[in-house]
Amino acid sequence: MATITQLNVNGTSRSISADSQESLLFVLRDQLGLTGSKYGCGEGQCGACTVLIDGTARRSCITRMGTVGDKNITTIEGLAIGERLHPLQQAFLDEAAMQCAYCTSGMIMSAASLLNENASPSESEISHFMEGNVCRCGTHPRIVAAIQKASKMQKGAGQ
């Protein structure tokens, strides 16, 4: 089996050692110390492990290392620019859209993918897109509100 030795994460090429069948999530967490991506189910059902691969949300727990190649991976740790939070991060804080917050990084990464596709999603579009992300504490209404707020912030910044 081919050993993979390099991974593009958060704008940097990182050295790793993983076989092609290994899950991206555990390489990020155990080898690169990027523990912001969480394990929740191991079968792509809860979204806690969501990262962006070339800008699109992917469940890293079921993403095999062999499929990643030289694609660009963004994790929650790579979303802020220096001290400046991404609008989604700021909006989740402003709306207090978290309780235990274990789902939060996956929620934010999924939402980032949504906003990449659709800059001003409606409430039902958000709900539909986020269906694969579980929040067991029941913060859903605030998460929807935070995504809407971030969408407005991004538009405001773009003008």
């Binding site: 555990f26 155990d30 990027l34 079968e43 207090a96 274990y102 934010i108 579980v134 067991r136």
Partner: protein, 724 residues
């Protein structure tokens, strides 16, 4: 580690969680504090003897001896003005770190960002039974406010002495003491320079009444929120220390299985792998998680188990296997409860109703599965783990490894929730056992399947109610039997003259324990469904019927508040629409919930389209945090109400994965309105649990209103509604 038959964590607050604390808890050496914290002011909080016993022990004492000084919390203000608060309570997503910080800020008159909370570290924080039972707010919040107020007093006295003025002309604000007359002002930090002042709080101290709160009582964002949105916060499963190995446990084939044979040779040959086989425990430690999985898979273990009941015959089984309460020992439950005469009242009743209600086992599904990192240093053990009972886990570890509790330190990083599901220390024990063999730190993180299988469940139950009612709709007789699900919320709050209420423990086929709201969800479901049936039998409006049978003004107030917001009594907007109401009281919180449901008769689809929950728990500490708890409890409650149920057979869980066990998701969530009644004249109670309790019966009653079909099992519609 052996799998015991009917391995059960007793269910209820009063049955299990409030057990006796050790008889002695010796005074802490104060010099140690200053060695650790530096100079400053230290306030030690004595545990309240009577009601404080709930939190801090204070069980039996030997007569004739002075009671040892029990300390429940402490607070330190350092020379640099920093405030450090120590409490054994833990943060599991209920936002207690923030609301306790607010309480301290309020009474100490310092900025929130000057306060650091040290929580759930058995070496640094005082003993605490655990974070459950909605007790952190009513007990710990009060104690920390007292400690903070006492510290503030120390500063005012120091300033008064320094300036030779009367203390009444001094005020404290923003970390300073100011002389109102001269405007002279000094920072707390300057007042304590080089000092080592200690004060132990006596019993009651005067406190700012809720009407005068300035910081507490307002919404405050999560104090360390930024760490969570940036992925920086280190949960228990994120912990890592140098030299750490990854552990994996080889699980039995079924509950109660015994090990017949095991071959570990192949695993032992893998470089860097340590294999442990000790009794029924088999596990490995390896340099990577992948290597640990590979090594565990290489172990050949044969298990043997006997046939065991399945969920199909569960309710019959629970009734058949009820055990006499006497044999079980006294858990302090005031059971059975009797008043008046059921027989006489039933004879003279105009209407009689007998019904059975059932509740399935459900799983907590904390999004972060159990995790623990264990490190031995000689015969001293340190464990970082996610638990609601760090001190309880310390006891479990000490007993598992035959060492004293002094040799064990348990730390609890703020974790990915618990909902009553993380009271136990099995992962900590597994990690520690592997670490002892490997002579290196070992982390064990459970998979979702392990969490579904080897944790514990909310108890299933059967509830039988027989009632009698007079022609005018007054309930006169209430006979209530609960099999297995538990005693929380079992007593009726309706004003019924003749009652018999009994709990029957049973031999649970699955390991069971606490859950958000404990048995109160099951008891509210049965009681409030039954009351609804009685209302329809009497031909009365369900809300009006409840108010007619109620005397409790606080409960009436939430019923009215929910109904008003919901516009109870309005006409249905569409066919298939239905409205339901239910409510109750538990752990100091009053809840009334209205649900609007929509039933599609053709497809059997049931959708909850609106929820209004009115809640009152005394004076509100953090309105936004409370709203988050009330809404969150209702969303979590949707799962148990509508579709969550554990399927099992022969000691195996059949649907222990998220792809097979349906959780509430975005599209399931209707608009939820929380109506919060702020009773500033009443002490604050906890709110993490009771708001969940009105939902299932409100939905069930709404489904009846929409379809004429009465559902008496939770979950209500795991496969949709059959109306034909």
């Amino acid at each position: 580690m052996t799998a015991k038959p009917n391995f059960e964590i007793p269910v209820e607050l009063e049955r299990y969680e409030l057990r006796e604390a050790p008889p002695y808890r010796f005074e802490t050496d104060r010099r140690e504090f200053f060695k650790y914290l530096g100079a400053g002011v230290l306030i030690l909080c004595a545990a309240k003897a009577a009601s404080g016993a709930q939190e801090s022990g204070g069980g039996r004492r030997h007569s004739g001896e002075a009671p040892p000084q029990e300390i429940s919390a402490w607070l330190h203000v350092g020379e640099d003005g920093s405030v450090t608060v120590f409490t054994g309570k833990v943060e599991v997503g209920q936002n207690i770190r923030t609301s306790l910080t607010q309480a301290v800020a309020e009474e100490l008159h310092v900025a929130v960002d000057k306060i650091q909370m040290v929580m759930g570290d058995t070496q640094l924080t005082p003993y605490d039974r655990g974070t459950f039972g909605s007790l952190s707010t009513p007990v710990m919040n009060l104690q920390l406010r007292r400690a903070a107020a006492a510290a503030c007093d120390v500063f005012i006295n120091l300033a008064a002495a320094q300036w030779q003025v009367d203390r009444t002309q001094l005020v404290a604000a923003d970390g300073r003491v100011t002389d109102k007359a001269t405007r002279k002002s000094v920072e707390y930090a300057a007042l304590v320079k080089g000092q080592q002042l200690t004060e132990t709080l006596p019993a009651e101290d005067p406190l700012a009444p809720a009407t005068e709160w300035t910081v507490a009582g307002k919404s405050l964002p999560k104090v360390d929120g930024r760490d969570f949105v940036t992925g920086k916060h280190q949960y228990p499963s994120d912990q890592k220390i140098p030299d750490m190995l990854y552990g994996k446990v080889v699980r039995p084939s079924a509950f109660n299985a015994t090990l017949v044979s095991v071959d570990t040779h192949a695993a032992e040959r893998i470089p860097g792998v340590t294999v442990v086989h000790d009794g029924n425990f088999i596990g490995v430690a390896a340099p990577s998680a992948t290597a640990a999985r590979t090594a565990a898979a290489a172990i050949r273990a044969e298990w043997k188990s006997d046939p065991q009941p399945s969920n199909k015959e569960l309710f019959e089984y629970l009734k058949k296997n009820a055990v006499p309460r006497d044999a079980e020992g006294d858990h302090g439950d005031p059971m059975p409860y009797h008043s008046g005469s059921i027989e006489t009242a039933m004879k003279s009743a105009d209407h009689r109703l007998q019904q059975t209600y059932t509740v399935a086992y459900i799983a907590h599904c904390p999004l972060e599965p159990r995790a623990a990192l264990a490190q031995w240093n000689g015969d001293r053990l340190t464990v970082w783990t996610g638990t609601q009972r760090p001190f309880g886990v310390r006891t479990e570890l000490a007993s598992a490894f035959h060492i004293s509790e002094d040799q064990v330190r348990v730390l609890m990083p703020d974790m990915g929730s618990g909902y009553g599901g993380k009271h136990t220390g099995e992962t900590a024990i597994e990690a520690a056992r592997l670490a002892r063999a490997a002579k290196r730190p070992v982390k064990v993180t459970w998979t979702r399947e392990e969490e579904f299988t080897w944790a514990y469940f909310r108890p299933a139950g059967v509830i039988e109610i027989t009632s009698g009612m007079s022609a005018d709709g007054t309930v006169t007789a209430w006979e209530y039997h609960n099999y297995n699900s538990g005693t929380a919320g079992i007593r009726t709050y309706y004003d019924i003259a003749n009652q018999k209420i009994e709990f029957h423990p049973s031999r649970s086929p699955l390991r069971q324990g606490s859950y958000r709201g404990l048995a109160a969800t099951a008891n509210h479901f049965a009681r409030e469904s039954h009351m609804d049936e009685l209302a329809h039998m009497a031909g009365r409006d369900p809300l009006e019927f409840r108010l007619h049978n109620l005397k409790d003004e606080r409960l009436k107030a939430v019923f009215k508040a929910a109904a008003q917001k919901f516009e109870w009594g309005r006409a249905k907007a569409a066919p298939g629409q239905g409205f339901g109401i239910a409510g109750g009281f538990d752990k100091g919180g009053y809840i009334a919930t209205c649900a609007e449901v929509s039933v599609d008769h053709a497809s059997g689809d049931v959708k909850v389209t609106r929820i209004v929950a009115a809640f009152e728990c005394g004076a509100i500490v953090n309105p936004d945090g409370l709203r988050n708890q009330v809404v969150g409890a209702n969303i979590m409650g949707l799962g148990g109400a509508l579709f969550e149920a554990i399927d099992f057979e022969n000691g195996q869980i059949l649907n222990g994965r998220f792809s097979k066990y349906r959780l509430p998701r975005f599209s399931d969530i209707p608009p939820i309105e929380a109506v919060l009644l702020d009773r500033k004249d009443l002490p604050s109670a906890g709110a993490g649990e009771s708001p969940i309790e009105g939902l299932a019966p409100a939905i069930g009653n709404g489904i009846f209103d929409a379809s004429g079909v009465r559902l008496r099992s939770m979950p209500l519609v795991p496969n949709g509604l059959k109306t034909t």
